[in-house]
């Protein structure tokens, strides 16, 4: 008799733990915010764009001219990586400039391009500096649809989904990836020096931040 | 039909111990054969060879003219009762008895009826739900016998089944076994070291010593005509008296049973002078131990004897009752 009692206690203990496991694991999953995912596009990016500089000034130190190009956030915006050559047209003359710096401000992005010119600084000041941003990718690239990029911070960022091994299957975390150098054609963003290895979090009902644990199945 | 024929069976264990040597015997159907002998003479080994639990090193076994040497126990259709009863401790009495029937996949109903039948035959129906450890020696023995009888085997083998019981139980169970043999009408092979069991139960007795058959015969033959000194000494209590003698110009052993010696108070012709050493008074008879120049003798007398220790008496063996055995080999001289 006693033996039966003990055996049933033992069995019910294990069943209880099993039940608790199911409940706890499920509940934990349910508490996590649900995210939608999307993958980067694989496509050729090609831009062909002209932008007029907002202002141009002479940098005394390096004895070069620096033009400032300003891009709105929601405008066609494309930014070449620092050190990239840009073809400029100044008063119908072509020059080659070098991207010196990229600044991300709250409402717009600024690209500073330096170039040498034979014109005087006076002439330059009044001249119209046109930059031709010309880019065609020579391979299939991983393009991020622009609607997934968040511009509320400087630099803009995307949220990627990082998968890690957890006790019951995989656990998913939000990864904040800043986009510093990128080229955009208004629809897609082509990040420079960055490989998007994880799926992109396209949307979520709740606010997200870096390191947050999320779930991908309802 | 279950006759057993054993031809030249020998069993040797690998350390060169000869348990059985050249054993040949023919057992007829429905015969009750008792193999008797001192401990270690090979009788149990012989029984196990018949059962199929041991394999003979040499020789053949036939059951009703079918060669059985390499056939395993379970196919030989024998039943065995062991000295230690060998009841299965984890089963109750019913299951113990039913074990063989279940092994042969008999139907539940058959098992029920047969077990009930046998247990009532042996008077143990009230024990059917008990476990072996709750039974007394006699009850265990009956269960073991019930287990053997419930199957309709051709041959029943009993290995010293009564050795572990007290003498009263032994006597009563002995007669029960005899009755069972009569009712069952099957071949029984019985092994014991007790000669009285052999005498009372057997149709024929086989006397074994050191793995060799010394004599085969009916109880009366063996008692009246022992083939050698060993058989003569083994049968009879008190043992046969032996003394050296000369017979037909040869030195022989003469053997005379305790009941075949006369005691006289006065000297009669050919009587041997002797002194009473001890008297065992058993009520219905007395055993008188005397000492003579030829050695000590035990004499059985009916009822009371008027002698006392230290008395001088004269003993005379009845000459027709003297058995003569060769001095060296011990074999009977007819």
């Amino acid at each position: 008799m006693k033996r039966r009692v003990l055996i049933s206690v033992l069995v019910s203990f294990f069943l209880l733990i099993g039940l608790i496991t199911l409940v706890v694991v499920r509940k934990e999953q349910d508490k996590l915010p649900l995210v939608e995912l999307d993958l980067p596009r694989t496509d050729f990016l090609s831009i062909n764009y002209e932008k007029e500089a907002m202002e141009t000034y002479l940098d005394e130190m390096t004895d070069t001219f620096v033009s400032l190009f300003q891009f709105d956030k929601d405008e066609y915006s494309y930014l070449f990586p620092v050190g990239e050559k840009v073809s400029l047209e100044i008063q119908e003359r072509s020059e080659t400039g070098l991207v010196q710096e990229i600044r991300h401000e709250a409402a717009y992005d600024e690209v500073l391009v330096s170039f040498k010119s034979s014109l005087s600084d006076e002439g330059i000041k009044n001249a119209k500096v046109l930059a031709k941003f010309d880019f065609t990718s020579n391979s299939l690239d991983r393009l991020i649809p622009l609607e997934y990029v968040h511009f509320d911070d400087v630099p803009p960022y995307v949220f990627l989904l990082r998968r890690e091994k957890g006790p019951w299957g995989y656990e998913y975390y939000v990864e904040h990836v800043s986009l510093t150098d990128y080229i955009s054609d208004g629809q897609y963003l082509y990040p420079q020096n960055l490989e998007i290895k994880h799926p992109i979090i396209s949307s979520c009902d709740e606010p997200l931040w870096d390191g947050l644990k999320v779930r991908i199945y309802p | 039909m279950a006759s057993i024929r054993l031809e030249n069976i020998s069993k040797v264990y690998d350390d060169e111990v000869h348990a059985v040597t050249d054993f040949s015997l023919h057992i007829s159907d429905r015969e009750f054969v008792v193999i008797v002998g001192p401990s270690g003479c090979g009788k149990s080994t012989m029984l196990r060879i018949i059962a199929g639990l041991e394999e003979a090193s040499k020789g053949d076994i036939f059951f009703s003219d079918k060669k059985m040497n390499s056939i395993p126990s379970r196919q030989r259709n024998v039943s065995m009762v062991f000295q230690s009863y060998a009841l299965f401790p984890h089963l109750n009495v019913f299951e113990n008895i039913a074990f063989g029937l279940r092994a042969r996949k008999e139907s539940k109903k058959t098992i029920q009826t047969k077990v009930k039948e046998v247990s009532s035959l042996l008077g143990i129906e009230h024990l059917l739900r008990r476990r072996p450890k709750q039974l007394s020696g006699g009850e265990k023995q009956r269960v073991a016998m019930a287990r053997a009888l419930v199957r309709d085997a051709d041959v029943y083998l009993l290995d010293e089944p009564l050795s572990n019981l007290d003498s009263q139980l032994r006597a009563s169970l002995r007669s029960e076994i005899a009755m069972l043999h009569h009712t069952a009408q099957k071949t029984f092979v019985y092994v014991t070291h007790d000669y009285t069991e052999a005498m009372t139960l057997a149709d024929r007795i086989v006397v074994m010593k050191d793995g060799v058959i010394n004599q085969v015969g009916t109880p009366q033959e063996i008692f009246d005509c022992p083939a050698n000194t060993f058989v003569a000494k083994f049968f009879g209590s008190p043992q046969m008296n032996f003394y050296e003698c000369r017979h037909n110009d040869a030195d022989v052993w003469a053997g005379i049973r305790a009941e075949d010696i006369l005691i006289e108070e006065r000297s009669v012709d050919d009587a041997i002078e002797s002194e009473v050493l001890m008297i065992e008074r058993l009520g219905h008879e007395s055993l008188v131990h005397v000492c003579t120049e030829k050695g000590q003798f035990i004499i059985r007398e009916k009822g009371k004897v008027p002698y006392e220790v230290g008395d001088r008496v004269y003993i005379k063996p009845i000459s027709q009752a003297i058995h003569y055995f060769d001095r060296e080999s011990g074999i009977r001289i007819s």
Partner: protein
């Protein structure tokens, strides 16, 4: 006589309490809320709870009983990771138990009742392997596991343990004391060898089997050596190892976690109590 008996009882009770003290302590602490546990066992040596000081050594008061009963730690302890480790332990223990309980009786029967050449030599080797410390066997096991590509799985632990010679040894010793005539009786009654084993020898081994079950369970439930060596993935560890990890990471939950870990072992011990004693008695030949 009575006085002596009383003194003996008192001494034994005290010894028992001292032995059990860590366990009782743990159980009572598991009912504390997490904060209380943390507060008590971290270095909170204030003038209020210092009981005595000698130089740099401070003795301070510890209450055995919690001041406020709470099941909070139990709830917290049952997080998915802990539960996963619990089931890891179960999934390691059950195959080992099954393996031992199937292989050992068969092997013991073979060693005891069947005669074959080199039997005693092989049994001698079994005994030697059984007596070797587990640490010595870890290296050959590791090499073998590597060759079989089992290095990060539980099979590297399960297979050596399931074939452990201890079970065979224990059961064979028990069988030595058995009356072999019942096997003969079964054979004569018409059972083939396998049924003789199954219906007669196996039931006869039952007390030792239960003892083996209990001993193997405790050994597997507490397995640490092999799991540290063979298992690299953190989530595949059994609970015995994870518990050690937990102590440093989360001191509040450790008591509840350990109490839950202890329950199956206690239950199984209660189940197999009498048989354990019987089984070991029969194996060593000492009558109680």
């Amino acid at each position: 006589m009575k006085k002596k008996h009383l003194i003996h009882t008192i001494i034994l009770t005290l010894l028992a309490l001292i032995t059990l003290l860590p366990m009782l302590f743990m159980i009572s602490n598991s009912f504390m809320s997490a904060k209380e546990a943390v507060n008590r066992y971290t270095d909170l040596v204030t003038p209020y709870n210092v009981w005595a000081s000698e130089g740099n050594i401070h003795y301070y008061e510890v209450d055995v009983l919690p001041s406020y009963l709470s099941f909070e730690t139990y709830v917290k302890a049952m997080n998915p990771t802990y539960l996963r480790m619990f089931w890891n332990s179960v999934l390691i223990t059950v195959p080992i138990l099954l393996g031992q309980l199937i292989i050992s009786p068969l092997a013991a029967y073979g060693f005891e009742f069947i005669t074959w050449k080199y039997k005693e030599l092989l049994f001698f080797l079994y005994i030697i392997v059984m007596l070797l410390p587990i640490q010595l066997l870890l290296v050959p096991h590791y090499i073998a596991a590597n060759l079989l590509h089992l290095n990060d799985t539980w099979w590297a632990i399960i297979i050596p343990a399931a074939f452990s010679p201890f079970g065979t040894f224990l059961l064979r010793q028990h069988l030595k004391g058995l009356d072999t005539t019942i096997l003969d009786a079964a054979r004569v009654e018409g059972e083939n060898e396998w049924n003789v084993f199954r219906k007669v020898a196996l039931p006869a081994m039952y007390p030792s089997l239960v003892a083996l079950f209990a001993l193997t369970f405790v050994e597997c439930w507490n397995i640490v050596d092999q799991s540290i060596v063979f298992i690299k993935d953190v989530f595949n560890e059994p609970l015995s190892v994870y518990l050690a990890r937990m102590v440093t990471a989360e001191p509040g939950k450790i008591f509840a976690a350990a109490t839950i870990y202890m329950i199956p072992a206690i239950l199984i011990f209660m189940l197999t109590n009498e048989y354990l004693i019987k089984g070991i008695n029969l194996a060593t030949g000492v009558q109680s």
